[in-house]
Symmetry: C2
Subunit: 326 residues, 2 copies
């Protein structure tokens, strides 16, 4: 068989490991629970066990380009050291790259998970469909991650903290954020923020029964609930303000919105485009005739195409892009 790569998507809940070919075909994926409470050693053991299992099945080490890992941020790069990942308590300071390389005796490349997802969207998703090799992606999940791809390569900043647009303040002195700042985009556009906002409006009607998720709130909005619709309008407004900053600063041809929340695209996108148009003259000068229809040579904002696999695929892409560069 031809060359292949192994990607690892390290999440706060699940650990996924998969082998991919150079044409981004997936051969096989292994999903394990992330044993956060058992500590970094246990999780490293699980990663290495799965990698060795895939190597044994798929042609051995000769054809393996390397191992790529998408990890929750913030990370120090290119050293591949975890800083203080909020979803992986006890993993502070973990030398992810060094530990894996010494256990596997293979080249390992580490990126922030949102950057890995952006890389995958660039080469196999919205970027590929539209023909653009530069993009900025916002991932709306438990938090809001972001990744910047320039000419096909991740811009991870000088020490790996590039693309933390989830912590761009959109409302000065707004809601407090876990990062210590107030008014961060993450506090308005993450699934967590949506569920929290929905808790107030929906539980009041249900006399406090049941828990609200971003998804159940989207269902209520689609069924016509005006309060649920209002929450998603707020998501769109915050995204529009955040995008206005990004568009004015970066002038990318493509902005991709991904993560679980993007399933509610129809609920938040109209307010997002309205606010983006209001907040960025660069967008007004370069917007497509219809913001919902991709137009070459304009500033396009689109929904991600790859769904929840983008982080895993992007991780597997890392060794290929490194070998192209070196």
């Amino acid at each position: 068989m031809s060359t292949y790569s192994i990607g690892i998507d390290l999440g706060g809940t699940n650990l996924r490991i998969a082998a991919y070919g150079a044409d981004w075909t997936r051969f096989e994926a292994i999903t394990l629970p992330t044993r956060v409470l058992d500590g970094p050693g246990a999780v490293l053991d699980d990663m290495c066990g799965a990698v060795k299992q895939l190597i044994a099945v798929y042609g051995g080490r000769e054809k393996l380009v390397g191992v790529g890992v998408g990890s929750p941020g913030p990370l120090e790069l290119p050293s591949g050291r975890l800083l203080e990942p909020p979803n992986l308590p006890g993993f502070e300071g973990l030398e992810l790259k060094t530990e894996l390389e010494s256990r596997l005796r293979l080249p390992v490349f580490v990126e922030c998970d949102a950057n890995a997802a952006a890389l995958a969207e660039c080469h196999a998703g919205a970027g590929k469909s539209s023909g653009y090799q530069s993009l900025c992606m916002l991932t709306l999940g438990t938090g809001v991650g972001s990744g910047i791809i320039l000419n096909g390569h991740v811009w991870h900043g000088f020490n790996g903290m590039g693309g933390e647009a989830g912590h761009v303040p959109v409302y000065h002195d707004g809601l407090p954020c876990g990062c210590g700042t107030r008014g961060c985009l993450e506090q308005y556009a993450s699934a967590t923020a949506i569920a929290r906002a929905g808790q107030h409006v929906v539980l009041a009607k249900q006399n406090g029964n049941g828990s609200v998720t971003a998804r159940s709130l989207a269902e209520a909005a689609l069924a016509g609930d005006p309060d649920a619709k209002q929450v998603y309008k707020g998501v769109g407004e915050a995204l529009g303000i955040g995008l206005a900053s990004l568009v004015s600063t970066l002038n990318m041809p493509l902005y991709v919105i991904g993560g679980g929340v993007v399933a509610a695209w129809d609920l938040f996108a109209p307010a997002m485009f309205a606010e983006l148009e209001r907040g960025s003259y660069v967008y007004r000068l370069s917007k497509p005739a219809d913001p919902f229809v991709l137009e070459a040579g304009r500033t396009n904002v689109v929904a991600a195409e790859l769904g929840s696999d983008s982080g895993l695929l992007g991780a597997a892409m890392l060794p290929f892009f490194h070998s192209l560069n070196s």
Copy 2:
């Protein structure tokens, strides 16, 4: 003599043309008034006349790498077409690159003036001093311009409007901006904004006599006037909010503050650093021990080194960098 380049700095008031060597030594500069009211044809004639004059003196066309122009934005690039420059009424749609190339029969490279200034600071100013080849520069003048340099090259966005950070909204629904948005950084940190804010506080004391400039207000602040100090504190706060977005998104090793307003660095920098620290966890994780002292491997914000010549030098650098790339 060795190779040289000619730079043109097209301003709303002055037109400057200068020849520079490959080591960024300036041979000679010509300064003319920008004949805005006489229209684009007159200004193009003045540019070409000065370029030909410099060529006649400095070794002819053989050693000339090309002509670079720094122009007020917004521009369409690489085509080099002016869009709607607020300081050059009547110049809308001017094909600056094409017109100059056909008149001069020389390669011409056009960039936004703020990007040209950032390029100069990278290779001959704060970037050179600190050893960094990637930076983001904010130019605080009549407006607020910005430029992004990645690995020594201008990132001008997909159609030339990258680096319009002066129009990043820092206060949602804040002061109206000429660009049509509200709350843009430019409305709080440009010399124009400072003079306007000063007009209120100082003229009240002077019974309406005299006009206030950013400079005269700085002098009043340095002399102890509490209201003038307060205006500069506001400048610092707005800059800190804008920088927080940039730092969280870009994670550059170096941010350079330039333009005439930077003369008042001591008046606005303390509030700027306080707000930046409050608004960006990426900055908090990567700040130097003392924000006023450059520290390798951290996020540094410094004053520009080159003064008002940076735009002219950066314009002259453009042909050199293009010839390196091709």
